[in-house]
Amino acid sequence: MAKLMSFKNTVLKNLFSKPVTKNYPAEPAVYPKRSRGHIEINIEDCILCGICSMNCPSRAITVDRKAGTWTINRFDCVQCGYCTEKCPKKCLSIVPGYQEPMSMKASATYEKPVEEKKKFPQADTEVCVFCTLCAKKCPQGAITVDRAEKKWELNKDACVSCGLCESNCPKKCISMKEEN
């Protein structure tokens, strides 16, 4: 008998308890704080460096520096959060709330409000020890350091003004200055 009635307790319990499912959407879903719903950008802080787009595993982000736009295809994004790790300005975050379904893939474009003058790093060659750390950290390979010749050079066309060289310099001799 025990072999036939082993499920009895579960059946009885379920008969007299509330359903485990929610009456969605009348009763909305509650997401925990860490829920990875979608990427949010604080466009004011963004410097359009493009590091997020270069590192995004699904290539969901496009950064157009000339037009001053940051675009994300929310249907391509896999919510991995790698862009939030990589952004030098920490202006990306991943927040609860999923993208609503649509009949076709759509992207969201954010425009940089005011186009400021671009800032470029400048090294104080008096203090600089030519350790080449800035060159190694530069995501664009825009810095060339020649230890023998004691030369620090910047390729302004390649530089995206991310400021990583400034924050990584052990001697703190790099500063980001506006172009005159």
Partner: protein, 359 residues
């Protein structure tokens, strides 16, 4: 000898969430031989190492599978960390191991549900999946994702689990353990379940060993093989014994997996009990150079990650050998001589994950 005919099974079949095809050679109702063909969902993940740098690859690797996603990421990261000689801080190791054991619980509950579904016990199926939902909620609370967590990185983990969350986990697992004990009674002592599982698809210890079976499938046949005893993550600090059974039939596989859920809950308790404080990840400098084989115990068995690096951002090679791949020969063996009606059940008993197999 009776007349032989061939019945195609899959790639689309109600019991298969993923595509695998078998040509079943049958004589009357008995299977004489099963000839598999795979490759329906090959995605070429391993080739992507040439296009994505080794850090970015973490997010690709964990998308190999939706069930063991965490362990895929963990195995890959540990392989690269070993190449780079990076020591993950203790807390990072513990967090990884907690998430890994939670993955085991949710994977086994998923399997138990599918098994119940395969032998036609629908309500038991829903009971298992209802319980699994709690683990998924815990995952969402701690990592932000329900199936893909993106918390692994080379050098450690990205998110910490605070004391309050650990407490929530303890109480959820406490509750779950009670419910699981009730369900265990049905799985292991119910007449209907017994008649569908006992003596079905026996794989002897020798066969399991010779055919290179892995994980619970091998342990149910008495092969005491469990990669966790190799001691990666927090396992060296934990007290556990691989769960085995000598019987080797479908019932034994069910028995081993149910008991592994209890074991996983116990391991999580042990870890929460002695959770070290401190950093959760180490600083990683430079690019990897060298090669490494990492072996981890996934819910389905041993998975191997091979990584070969050349000192640049991009790896030379990455290879994943998944447990389902190792278990396919064993599965084909159990099919020989089985009833046609038992085929769906027998395929399920290895807990197949075809996406993993085909990467």
């Amino acid at each position: 000898m009776g007349k032989q005919s061939i019945i195609p099974f899959g790639p689309q079949h109600p019991v298969l969430p993923e595509p695998i095809h078998l040509d079943l050679v049958i004589e009357d109702e008995k299977i004489v031989e099963a000839i598999p063909s795979i490759g329906f969902v090959h995605r070429g993940l391993e080739g992507l190492v040439k296009k994505k740098d080794f850090n970015e690859m973490t997010y690709v690797v964990e998308r190999t599978c939706g069930i063991c996603s965490f362990m895929h990421g963990m195995g890959y990261c540990e392989a690269v960390e070993n190449v780079m000689n990076v020591e993950v801080p203790d807390r990072g190791k513990y967090l990884r191991t907690i998430w890994a054991e939670m993955s085991r619980i949710h994977s086994h509950l998923l399997w138990l549900g599918l098994l119940a579904d395969a032998f036609g016990f629908e309500s038991l199926f829903y009971q298992c999946w209802r319980m699994r939902e709690k683990v998924l909620d815990l995952f969402e609370l701690t990592t932000g994702g329900r199936c893909i967590f993106s918390v692994n990185k080379i050098g450690g983990v990205l998110k910490d689990i605070d004391a309050e969350m650990l407490q929530t986990m303890l109480s959820v697992f406490e509750e779950m353990e009670t419910e699981l004990k009730t369900i265990r009674k049905t799985f292991l002592f119910d007449y209907t379940v017994e008649s569908r599982l006992k003596g079905v698809g026996v794989l002897t210890k020798e066969q399991a060993h010779n055919l290179g079976a892995a994980g619970p499938f091998a342990r149910a046949s008495g092969v005491k093989i469990d990669m966790r005893t190799r001691g990666y993550g927090a396992y060296p600090d934990l007290d556990f014994e691989p769960i085995t059974s000598e019987i080797g039939d479908s019932f034994a596989r069910c028995d081993v997996r149910i008991n592994e859920i209890f074991q996983a809950i116990d391991l999580i308790r042990q870890m929460i009990g002695k959770m070290p404080s401190g950093e959760i990840s180490a600083v990683v400098k430079g690019n990897p150079n060298g090669e490494y084989f990492m072996r981890v115990e996934q819910p389905r068995g041993e998975a191997i990650y091979y990584v070969k690096a050349n000192g640049s951002k991009f790896l030379d090679r990455m290879r994943v050998r998944t447990p389902t791949f190792a278990n396919l020969p064993g599965m084909l063996e159990t099919l020989k001589g089985a009833d046609l009606a038992d085929v769906p059940l027998l395929i399920l008993t290895i807990d197949p994950c075809i996406s993993c197999t085909e990467r």
